[in-house]
């Protein structure tokens, strides 16, 4: 939802009353245009760029552009003055790789394919010819969620599997998709994610298919060049949108933007890059700390994930406890093992938290990406990174100047300087202060205001009530499974059953346990004569949950669900 400045609305009301403007122009509140495109943000602490600050200065914005920044600047007569007294102003943040504002059509479940070894490209997830512009929805909730965090521009890509489509740079405002678009065809988005039950299904299938497509595209491209020079006597090259989508990559006009979260996926992408030679943009990196040298030598642009694993601090026992072994109860072997395992897990989680600081220390320029992050976690995750060694300047760099450079936007975005697009974020306290709130965001010169909403107090530590019916869906190599989950009973003695919409089977679930907002349960399925134990662990957030399902030794798969309202 777009909010107009209260004062602007008030002014409009007055104007309407005195009848200066024809009423018909303003049939709907939503469509009210701002009275002026000129703003002067005064008395504000300006961080023009990391390390470049002006105490209590003024920023003038006119028609979508920053026109003046300084301690004392003349304020145009038509400017609406925003007294941002003692607030903090930064360049609008740039999201380096994101699905923000991308509204994907619902994927049809388990589409029947005649020949799973040779499925149609779109079902196989091979859609590099798809343009993210056709999937943008400026009214998507994520646009405002991201803007509220201070993001004003994003490199957006479609969702999908191996080759979801081409990306675009968008501004997080506008009434139509085209109004959002700053630059299109900026990258070829790729993932090591295979198709469900059809070719290419696994990472080895995806990598082989990627090579095959890329090399075919190279041949097709050079043949087409030959044909265009002197086509007489030559067989006419057949148009192929999938292969043609690779041409700008082969020409090194645009990079491949590869999603690679794990340390292994990152290195698999390097294998492809070495084989094929494309320019690489690495997105959603979660475990890059051990491969910094490889990232450097691949000369890849890097966007680190803003999703972090959660560190659940136990009630911290005083570390001296264990040393006074005589007075305390001896730990059992299992408890000791538990402690060791917990310590290793914590160490691993902290590696994720420390990653941005480590990249900075190693001189690797990076931005952030949000393919996986939830908006509610982003600000606290940034704080965790800062708490774990990332300087605030470096964090700001990764949100502004670095992505601007990595995405080729430095001329027009990334700093608060005259001539740049008026993308600004204004917070009541320094942004990286835990208690700061974003009060105003300018995108493309348009003002969005945010009030503090009194947060609904959730009583801390109280167990959530899971009773009722939930829909769930999980994604495994077999495809998507959906169904319902019904939980009955009372706290401490829950029971339940789940149905599978695909098979129609009903299975009882057991070991239902609730702790705070997390719920765990397990069930068994018969897999070819073997009973397979499946354990599920989810976090309930209001009316939805998400988490993982662990299937014996086959691995873990995502599961999510939603409460089915009572009839």
């Amino acid at each position: 939802m777009k909010r107009l400045h209260n004062a602007v609305v008030w002014k409009l009301v007055i104007i309407l009353f005195i009848g200066v403007l024809p009423l018909s122009l303003y049939g709907q509140d939503e469509k009210i245009a701002p009275v002026t495109g000129t703003y002067a943000i005064t008395n504000v602490n300006i961080t023009q760029a990391p390390g470049r600050t002006i105490q209590l200065g003024t920023v003038v914005v006119k028609d979508g552009m920053i026109t003046a920044v300084g301690k004392t600047v003349s304020i145009p007569a038509d400017a609406k003055i925003i007294k941002a007294d003692s607030m903090y102003l930064y360049a609008g943040f740039i999201d380096g790789l994101s699905h923000v504002g991308v509204d994907m059509p619902k994927e049809e479940e388990d589409q029947d394919v005649d020949d799973p070894s040779n499925p149609p490209n779109d079902i196989a997830g091979i859609q590099p010819d798809r343009d993210v512009r056709g999937l943008l929805n400026p009214a998507d909730k994520s646009v405002d969620d991201w803007r509220k965090l201070g993001f004003t521009a994003a490199h957006v890509v479609p969702e999908g599997r191996m080759l979801p489509g081409s990306g675009a740079i968008v501004l997080l405002s506008g009434d139509t998709p085209d109004e959002m678009v700053y630059r299109s065809g900026t990258s070829l988005f790729s993932q090591l994610r295979g198709a469900s039950g059809i070719y290419p299904n696994t990472v080895i299938g995806v990598m082989a298919k990627y090579r095959d497509l890329y090399r075919n595209a190279s041949y097709a491209k050079s043949y087409k060049q030959r044909y265009e020079q002197d086509g007489a006597g030559m067989e006419r090259p057949v148009s192929d949108r999938v292969l043609e989508a690779f041409y700008p990559v082969i020409d090194k006009r645009i990079p491949v933007a590869f999603k690679a979260e794990s340390v292994l996926d990152i290195q698999r992408v390097f294998i492809l890059k070495n084989d094929l030679g494309f320019n690489l943009m690495l997105g959603e990196v979660k475990q890059g700390w051990d491969v910094i040298d490889k990232i450097k030598s691949a000369n890849a642009s890097v966007f680190l994930s803003l999703e972090l694993p959660e560190l659940k601090e136990e009630k911290e026992k005083d570390s001296t406890d264990t040393d006074e072994g005589d007075t305390k109860k001896e730990l059992t072997a299992a408890e000791e093992e538990q402690q060791r395992l917990d310590a290793r897990k914590k160490e691993m989680i902290l590696n994720h938290y420390k990653q941005p600081a480590l990249f900075t220390a190693n001189g690797v320029k990076f931005g952030f990406s949000t393919l996986e992050a939830k908006s509610k976690d982003i600000k606290s995750n940034l704080s965790k990174m800062v708490e774990n060694g990332l300087s605030e300047d470096a964090a700001l760099t990764a949100l502004t100047t670095a992505p601007a450079q990595l995405l080729g936007l430095s001329n027009t975005m990334g700093t608060v300087d005259a001539g740049k697009i008026a993308n600004l974020v204004i917070s009541d306290k320094p942004y990286f202060d835990e208690k700061s709130n974003v009060k105003m965001v300018f995108v493309d010169g348009k003002l969005f205001e945010y009030d503090d909403k009194p947060k609904k107090k959730k009583s801390d530590g109280e167990d959530i009530d899971p009773i009722g019916s939930w829909s769930y869906s999980t994604e495994t190599p077999q495809g998507t499974t959906t169904g319902t989950l019904k939980i009955t009973g009372e706290a401490g003695d829950y029971s339940g059953e789940m149905t599978n919409s695909q098979t129609g089977e009903t299975t009882s679930i057991s070991d239902i346990a609730i702790s705070g907002t997390s719920m765990t349960y397990s069930f068994q399925i018969n897999a070819g004569g073997n009973m397979l134990s499946i354990s599920v662990s989810v976090t309930i957030d209001g009316e939805t949950f998400d988490g993982t399902m662990t299937v014996g030794s086959y691995g873990s798969f995502p599961v999510e669900g939603e409460r089915i309202p009572e009839q």
Partner: protein, 450 residues
Amino acid sequence: MKNNITLILALLLAFAASAQQKGDVLIKNGTVLTITNGDLAETDVLIRDGKISKIGKGLKAPSGAKTIDATGMYVMPGIIDAHSHIALDAVNEATSPVTAEVFTGDAVDPLDVSIYRALAGGVTTSHAMHGSANAVGGQCETIKHRYGTVDPEALKMKGAPRTIKFALGENPTRVHGAGNNMVPRTRMGVEAVFRNSFSEAQEYMAAWNEYNVNKSKKGFKGAPPKYDLRLETLADILKGEIIIHCHSYRADEIYMLMQVCKDFGIKRLVFQHVNEGFKVAPELAEFGAGASVFADWWAYKFEVYYSTAYNATILSENGVVTSINSDSGELIRHLYHEAAKTQKYGGLTDKDALSMITINPAKQLGIEDRVGSIEEGKEGDIAIFNNHPLSIYAIPMYTIIDGVLQFDRQNDPDDMRIYVNPEEKIDVTFSQNDHTVDRCMQGTEFLFKN
């Protein structure tokens, strides 16, 4: 607790540093089972810069070299497993009966703790194979168990010949025939898939040859043939650049694939499992095909009922290069026991029994000039046991790869994982059974749901 963490980190760092290194080590005074040159009592083996530089008595350690006192111990070449699926993130691209283009080298997982478990069983090299879901499966990677790195490249045995997995019988017919209602539905279909694939590859090669010959000619107007990574790979098999390793059980089919290979001029062929190999042992020997078998595992599906524990001996006695494999992250830890079974069933000599897990699998993988025996000039891959490795009392003490100590029983921490799952649920009482599934068919389970 802090100390524990520090210790673990220190160990991991030590391991990380050792990845892909070549080391110096002097193994003193052991009984050296060279495999190719008899057993040498109270003999030293010196490894310098990753290679065995000297075998003899009274050798001096160069400065900086680690010395292992192997007095009373047995020093053998690092064990080689010609059929394994450890250290892989993906095993089967089970969506097509022919997937020659896929490559397990793309899915190598250096973080798999199974690698360390294999080291703890003296295994230094394994053949990380594609599964047996497809008639023509994917290409495989030969890896050295250099555990302690996050770099998949560090595990790859650079320079080892390319290999590819084929499969006969129930697996491909079940996956594609019964599972997806396509060819091959029968054993005849499997043969047809091979013949069609190779014929297409011949046409593909011919088309490219013609194009390459003509393309530089003046006024040439032709288009290049459509590039196809699958046919490229099949063509490389026809050119002799890739060794076929074929999952097989029944004698008729084993014979069939030899005929197919003869017809297409393919010479490098190793059969895997080969439970009925004993029925066609002379034919296998005549062809020059290898056989990589289980010591005594069968009856897990219909086509594996006609089996015998004497298989390895019969094949070996008929002159077939025979190895004993694991196909399992569990069996791989005691391949020396598996090899010893050939003495119970067939009375093979120590040398022949040990050859089954050293020089013979090396030959099948085309790496016998580098590993598989203790010879000067070969790579410094060594397993040291407290007793004779074929003894039931044998315990692996040290495992060395390229002169770097990778396993030391005296320094063997509980938790050898390199990365832990940051979202794992820690429950020390939780147990799960890993050994109920046939790893060969990993990733195909979804095809058999009702």
